[in-house]
Structures are given as C-alpha cells and as structure tokens.
Amino acid sequence: MQKFDEMYAQLPGTGQTQTQGQSQGQSQFQFQGSDIRAHYQAYAQWLARQPADVMRARREEAEMIFRRVGITFAVYGAKDEDGSGTERLIPFDLIPRIIPAHEWASMEKGLVQRVTALNRFLHDVYHDQDIIKAGIIPAEQILNNAQYRPEMKGVYTPHHVYSHIAGVDIVRAPNAQGQGEYYVLEDNLRVPSGVSYMLEDRKMMMRLFPDLFSSHRVAPVMHYPDLLLETLRASAQPGAPDPTVVVLTPGMYNSAYFEHAFLAQQMGVELVEGQDLFVKDRYVYMRTTRGPKRVDVIYRRVDDDFLDPSVFRPTSTLGCAGLLDAYRAGNVSLCNAIGTGVADDKSIYPYVPKMIEFYLGEKPILNNVPTYMCRNPDDLKYTLANLKDLVVKEVHGAGGYGMLVGPAATKAEIEDFRKAVEANPSGYIAQPTLSLSSCPTFVDSGIAPRHIDLRPFVLSGKEVQMVPGGLTRVALKEGSLVVNSSQGGGTKDTWILEV
C-alpha cells in the first residue's frame, strides 16, 4: 500500500523516522528537513531539539496526571493484572496532529453542509418522505431499517434538528492524482463520544509544552462546553424559556462515564441516571432533595433501546418509563432525538451526497468513500471477487467490530467473511482500502508513523457550529487501521494552525 503521511510530503525510507541511538538517552530526534510539509516545519524543528529522555518523562507525567484526574474508561468484563479494577487509560500521544487553517476552513464548510442535509433527511423520513417519493432512496431501505422508529413519525423537534451532536469520522488519503484529500468514513448521529478527550488532550499539551503554544498559533477548543450548552438550551421546546438541562448517563460503570460527568460539570447541569427521573402527566421530573423538579432538555448518553422501558426494551433500568410519551407531547427535548440511527447506518451512507444535492441543491464539499452496496447484485459480484483488496463492513457494526480489512486478513478470515456476505448480502457494504494517512507518533521504539483519523463534533441547535478540529484517534499497533479505543487506539491533540 502507498505510504501517505501528515508530516512528510514524502515519507522517508523505513527506519529513518526512528530515533537514532536510543540507548544513550541523550539522543535527539533526527529529521530530514526538506520534505516536511509547511505547517509541520516549526513543530518538527522544535521536536528535533527535544532530548528523547525528556519526551519519555513527559509521557510518564501525562499518564500519572490522567490517572489522578481519573480520565479513564471502563472495559466490560476486563480485569487489571492484579484483578482489582476495570478502569483503563486511553493512551495519549505527545505528538500533535496538525491541520493547516485553510484545509480546516473547507472541511468546516463541508461538515456544516453535510450535517444540515442529514438533519433535513431525518426530518423528512419522519414527516413527508419526499426523498422516497423522488425515488432517490428506495423506501424499504429506510422504512425496513431496524433504526427507523415509527414512533417518531410526525413528532415536532425544535428547529427540525434531530442530531444535535454529530461526530463525523474523517480520514485523509491520496486521491487518484496522489493528492491528499479528506473523506468521510462515517456519520455518528446517535450518541457520539470522545469530545472529553479532545478537551483533556489539549489541556495536557498546554500543561506539558506551554512553550509550543506561544510559538504556534493553535486555534482554541476549550469553549466546546459553552457551545454545547447553548445548543442544548436552543433545543428546548418553545414552552420552556429558561430550560433546565440535564445529562442522562447509564451510570459510573459505563465506558464513557468520565465524559458524561465531565460535560455535566463543565456545563454546570445535573448528571442524572434513569432512576433519578420520573414522568407524571407527560412531564419529566427529577428527584431532588427539595422535591420534584421539571426537566426540559435531556442530553441523553443512553441508546434509543434503553430510553423508555414502557416502549422499547422492557428490562432496561437505564431509562425512564413514559419518557417517549412526554417527548411526543412536546414537554421535553431529547438530544439527540430518537431514531437518528436511520441516517448514520452504513446502508444509508452511500446516499449522503445525493441527500446534499436533494435538500440543499449544492455539490457535496466533503468526499464519501466509494461504496459497494452488496444488496445490489453487481456490487455483490464485484465485492466477492475482490475481497482481498476491499474493506468490508457490517451495515450495523460499530466500534471497529464486524469488519474485514482485506489486505490485512488471512485466507481463512476472508473465506469466513465470504460465507457471511453470501448468506446476507444486504447486511454488508464494501469500500476500497484507502491509504489512510499516518502521523508521527511516539511509541516504545521511538517516533514512528501510525494511522490516524479525525472526529470533529458538529453541534446543531439554532445554527450549526463547532470548535476547530476535533478528536484525532491513532491506531497504535504498527500497520493497524483500527483506531477505536476498545481495540488499542489512542488519541492525539489536534491543532488547527494558522501558518
């Protein structure tokens, strides 16, 4: 596969990005200056001056601070070596991922456009279904989708917004001409997580390397909780002029609990669990030390299925009975709305560029990855014939599970997937394997290229807005393309840089 890097216009030969003479401790990082991309020049010069042992000490310091602050995620069913706990740190990499401001400007426009269209689509499928009538997406692909919630038909949502918080996964890869371009890999419109790492990574970088921030003009991100609160308040029903906002968490054993607690605290709102809420006369209340208090907006970090045991999964203790009823009555806002999964499903993904043209009459700014839908006989035939070169994904898979990376898979894995695809073609899509860009990363052996992606967090309330950048995830295993934290992924600070 072609090598494609963020820092280097041309990736040097193998081994040359590694530190020289590791054992001496005093060694410095060596770079060949000429082919470093413009927006990385200053940083690379700085990095070349850093002794390796200082960087190593910084990494240990970061780890210690993350532990003390308790920035951990829970791993289901896992135990530490001493059997005591299940709290892990997400590895944090010291080397930032840098994006030049002009590239971000165009990406931001593309994100506003894309998320606006996706929200228009969601409103449409739960109201007039114009896109089906226009014959752009087959009705059964929407209406028979398990993520389509008939309960949402005709329900009013303020500003017609459904996905108030969207996490759009973006990768950079060479196009046919070998030029770097951004591609959207996935739209996460249900309960995307990771924004707390974006904020904590920045805080950590500023703490470890304050001098870097005085010599670089890095766009700030720390106002995210403010924008989020503004978005949530703007999503209140018209009858609640000074809305009470809460964050609904599944509880402290959820893998993203830190983030839920963090965001609630940063916004100064209550962090509630299902047991703290109840519905009376189609209004939602929380139980407080001074009696019941009305709740107007719920930023829920609980999946649709668990939200209301009286309608969805009856055994759920994470939600609140009667919530859907109160929601349909227009007495409470849910962020995100119920039923957004129908728009970020992998079987709908290939239609997003057409949605943009249909609803907005614009050309898509961000690229989709070319996608073969195995439900179409021609696409299925092509997919089965080229499994070893393709990435095949389960339509409902998430978290890096249920996918085949052809070039990295064994013969047996490919054959297993072939059987699975043949048995249920409409459950799969296939995409060409992109040469995902890599970024220099501080690993045990020194500095080496590792694959990365980017998740900007797009907020939709009265308007669509975001903080510059997002969360950069990095696949720490050499050669791996999977960046998910559950599978050995780490994170990096993301710099939008005025050069």
Binding site: R67, M252, A264, E270, L271, Y285, R287, T288, T289, R290
Partner: protein, 319 residues
C-alpha cells in the same frame, strides 16, 4: 440537588470519617502495645477495638484467636471486612466517582489520589514496615479531604450534606469509642486501688485521649491529672472539643437546618432534642444513671437520625 447526588456525597464523607477513626483507634492500640503491658491487658485492648465496630463475630469466624497482627490486618487490609480502612477508602472513592461532577476538581482528585495511593502503599508493604506512619497517612488524607472540601466547594447543599455525613459518623464513632473503653475497665473506674492499677489507668485514659487528639486539650482545659470522669466529660459534653458528641451534634443540627425541606421538620426536631440533652447535660447525672446506658441510647438515636435523613432527603418516594 439530586437526591442520589446528596446520598453519594453524604456517604462519601461518612466513609472518609470512618477510615480516619479506625486509623486513630488502631494507632493508639498499636502505640500502647509498644509499652510494657500484660498479655491480658493487651488482649482487652485488641478485643475492645473489634467490639467497637461490632466485628468480634466476623473476626472470630475468620481468624479465631486474637493476635495484634491479625487484628491490624483485618482492620486495615481485608477487603471482605466492610469496616476495614481499605474498604472505607474504596467506598468513599466509589461514592465520589459517582458524583465527581458535583465535587470541585480538587476535591475529586483528593479522593481519587487517596485511593490510588493506598493501593500502591499496601502493595509495596508500607503498612507492615511502619504501621504508625501508615495510620498517620490515613488521618492526614482525611484532614486533606475535609479541608479541600471546605476550602473549595460552593457553600450550598452539596457541602451541607457532606458535612452532615462527616459529623453524624463522628458522633457515632466517638460514642462507640467511649462506650467500649469505659467498659474495658471492668471495675469501678473511680479511683484505682493499687499503684499498679493507677499506672494502668494513666496509660489507658491517655490512650483514649490521644486517639481523639485530646491529650493536650485535656491538659489545657482541666489543668489536672487525668481522671476518667473528666475524660468522659470532655468527649461527651464539651462543645469546644472538636470530636466530642456535643460538638458533632452541633454540626449535624446546623447543617440539617441549612437543607431543611417540607418533610424534614420531625427529623430536625429530634436532632435538636438530642443536641439539647448534650448541651444541658451534666456528667454527674450521666454517670449516675449509667454511662453505658446513656451511650447505647445515644447510638440508637444517632442511628435513627441517619435513617430519617435518608428518608427525607436522599431516597425520597416518587412524586
């Protein structure tokens, strides 16, 4: 604030306070055991420690014979013993984690750091190497936890529920300590017959005082040799002794009044009545009717207060 949040904050403080008091009692027993004393006297000391926490049966079932080392390990490191220091610190931290957003960053990090540290210290064998220093550390972390709370938290309900937990637990713990230690002196504790008994008395009473940081206070307040009835007076009735029942109940009452709601009137009335008994009580009266009976009744009333606080504020019925 959310009832559940108040509940977690209340219990976070109770467990922190309990860990501190356990460390105090263990420390004093440990220091006393370094003095020359008969095996029988030592035995009474360690047994008393277990009975304070009502753990004699649980200990007996697990270990049988009472030896200082086993009792200390049981009370410090045993995760199956819900009253051990490590269990209390864990419970405090779990409660804090459940509501970390309601704590200031400093307050949360203090709790979390205590938990990370205690694990590291126990793993490294620091407790076995120097028990005295370990107990000092537990006390210090509790001071820090209280200080960082008062020093950084908004003075709202969250803080009041935390204070409520601290002082309700302290009232309970001090009462148990006094009860057991006065019980340990089987004979009439007014004056010792022999010289040897007198010596024992001095160390016995000064140990109790030290366990509540009250030795120097005693000297300052009474300017006299150590007499049991004055030790009782100090630990029960003095409003200016920070670990006395009276001082603890003052705090319980004032914090309860700050969080009063529509249904808490009766709870506050009872807390006020209990405080009044201490405020207007006299040590001679208490001793005349029987110290043990007085303390047993006190513990029942504190226990009942705890249950009423739960019902009124922390886990109220729906709607």
């Amino acid at each position: 604030m959310l009832s559940r949040t108040a509940d977690h904050l209340f219990w976070m403080s109770r467990y922190t306070e309990r860990a501190e008091n356990t460390a105090r009692m263990l420390d004093v027993n440990y220091q006393t055991s370094l003095l020359p004393q008969s095996a029988a006297v030592a035995q009474v000391g360690w047994q008393g420690l277990l009975s304070i926490s009502e753990l004699l049966p649980a200990y007996g079932a697990q270990h049988g014979e009472i030896t200082p080392q086993r009792v200390m390990e049981f009370m410090v490191k045993d995760e199956n013993n819900p009253s051990s220091i490590v269990s209390c610190l864990k419970a405090a931290r779990e409660n804090a984690r459940a509501v970390r957003g309601s704590l200031t960053t400093e307050a949360w990090e203090t709790q979390n750091q205590t938990w990370l540290e205690v694990n590291r210290m126990l793993k490294a064998g620091q407790f076995e190497r120097d028990p005295g220093q370990f107990f000092e550390w537990v006390k210090f972390r509790s001071h820090l936890s209280r200080g960082v709370t008062v020093g950084t938290m908004l003075m709202d309900e969250a803080l009041h529920f935390m204070r409520l937990g601290t002082f309700l637990e302290r009232a309970d713990n001090t009462a148990r300590l006094v009860d057991v230690k006065f019980h340990a002196v089987q004979s009439d504790f007014f004056g010792a017959a022999t010289e040897q008994d007198q010596e024992y008395d001095f160390y016995h009473w000064s140990a109790i005082l030290r366990s509540v940081s009250g030795f120097e206070i005693y000297r300052k307040v009474y300017r006299d040799v150590i007499k049991p009835e004055r030790v009782a007076d100090l630990l029960i009735l003095r409003p200016d002794m920070p670990r006395s029942l009276h001082a603890s109940m003052n705090e319980v009452l004032s914090n309860l009044e700050m969080v009063a709601n529509d249904q808490s009137h009766e709870t506050i009335r009872r807390a006020g009545k209990l405080r009044a008994d201490l405020k207007w009580g006299h040590i001679d009266e208490i001793l005349a009717t029987g110290l043990h009976a007085f303390l047993t009744q006190f513990l029942d009333r504190v226990n009942e207060l705890g249950a009423r606080i739960s019902r009124d504020f922390l886990i109220p019925a729906s709607a």
